[in-house]
Symmetry: C2
Subunit: 290 residues, 2 copies
């Protein structure tokens, strides 16, 4: 079978045999660049060699199932189990193969405000298979970091934090960017940011503190980016995890390393998983979807 994680700005496909990845294709062909109606052709082109080799089962997750994607797979409410996610898959028109599309998830805070995910539910299905039914807190860091609670084999709820996007817009478009100069990660500055995130005052105040430090010559321009990352990731961890709570981390290696350092510095035991959990999730959901 073929598993596809088709996001806003990336396309990742896995050729799978008995649960193992035997080949992979990664491109920048995210859904944003694809006109309505052009999705079947884009998929056929991207997977041509595997389709020619006889693959006929394709399971997709991610923003391809959003209103801007191939078809809209409505959000499934939490708590949700992998079996329920698999059962909600839509079958799409595609000649020569069965193509199915997984839904995203929606959850609500106590105040009723919703949160949504698309694609990450599949990573969580992969993690659920690895971690077993016990309760777990999972962090999937990224542009929009997801923190999910797993319990009794289900995804019971989650929160999303705009950490990565905030970092990018602040560096590219705010006054903080004028005090920043691209440089390799600076661990000491990152830790200073984490410490500051734990101090009184909100994020908007701590952000201005970055500028004050710069103006007074107390933060080199080459340390601004790392300090800002520490501030934002520190605030994210404080909002998403209870003090001392253990965290499972999965995602791209560099980002996972940065979060692992932040979790250790803020007193959270942490276990790291690689990004291929999404492929494992696709395999698991494909089996469940029949």
């Amino acid at each position: 079978m073929i598993g596809v994680d088709w996001g806003t700005s990336s396309f990742r496909a896995y050729r799978l045999r008995e649960g193992a990845i035997i080949d992979r294709i990664e491109t920048r062909g995210g859904i944003l660049g694809i006109p309505t109606g052009a999705f079947p052709a884009a998929l056929r082109a991207a997977l041509a060699p595997w389709l020619a080799a006889g693959e006929s089962e394709i399971l997709m997750c991610g923003m391809v199932g959003s209103r801007q994607g191939w078809a809209e797979a409505p959000y499934l409410p939490c708590p949700a189990s992998p079996a329920e996610i698999a059962a909600a898959a839509l079958t799409l028109r595609f000649e020569g193969a069965r193509v199915r599309l997984l839904p995203g998830l929606v959850t609500r805070g106590l105040d009723g405000v919703p949160d949504v995910m698309r694609g990450e539910e599949t990573k969580l299905a992969g993690l659920l298979a690895m971690l077993g039914p016990g309760p777990a807190l999972v962090c999937l860091p990224g542009t929009h970091s997801k923190w999910a609670r797993l319990e009794a084999g289900r995804i019971t709820g989650f929160t999303t934090h705009m950490t990565g996007e905030l970092r990018a817009v602040l560096l590219d478009h705010s006054i903080l960017g004028r005090l920043a100069q691209p440089a390799p990660p600076d661990e000491a500055a990152f830790r200073r940011g984490l410490d500051r995130a734990a101090a009184p005052g909100g994020l908007a105040q701590h952000l201005f503190g970055t500028r004050a430090l710069g103006l007074l010559g107390e933060l080199p321009v080459t340390a601004t980016e790392s300090y800002l990352s520490g501030l934002l990731i520190g605030a994210e961890i404080a909002a998403a995890a209870r003090p001392g709570e253990a965290v499972h981390l999965a995602g791209a290696e560099a980002l996972v390393a940065r979060y692992a350092l932040a979790l250790a510095a803020t007193g959270h035991p942490c276990q790291r998983h690689d990004e291929d959990v999404v492929a494992q999730g696709l395999v698991r959901l494909a089996v469940m979807a029949g």
Copy 2:
């Protein structure tokens, strides 16, 4: 005398007689547009009619005293009294009038991280004269909102919140802007944002909630800006004021009205002051500076 509040993007001059404003000049001639060395000429041009009429005392505050301004007037540490601020004024070279430049202030949190202001210390000197020596919490809302504590006739400390700039960069450059359409202020949406700011989870999480509400059709595109303002201002108030604490507000009318609504909704008694407190501060500091 002439009082000048010369900021990054605006120039405001007041012609003052016995503490009253008898004329004013406001332009967009902020310091950002002025090359090094061109400040005396810019001031002479802006104030030509008043100088021709015989004015010979000019007191300035604001970013004109920063490294990017006419000359750098070093930050004075808090706590600081108006007399100390006045005594630290620099006298600049200018033919035909005595031109003096007030310093900004610097304060530090318990963790040593600094915060700075330039121009607002003069508004606070004006407010101190009006409010008397008792303790007071003052909010000066804006691109970078300032919250200052006044006690025994001095400015004892302050915090800055990047609220206005965050709102602008998020609407102009983040995913939230794609869900927003310019519209008149929507008070119900603003109040929803304030309520959300008081719910568990950090600012980066609440920001993403704005997107989730939009995706699910639970927040109209014409309400996004007001909701976002409620989120950001709610978070600012929670970070800057203790529960139930009374607040003195001073600034531009529309912004002060919005903050007054937010303070009332979050249980803070509030007293409003107009923007001319800066002129009153300039008068007071001029008298003190002799």
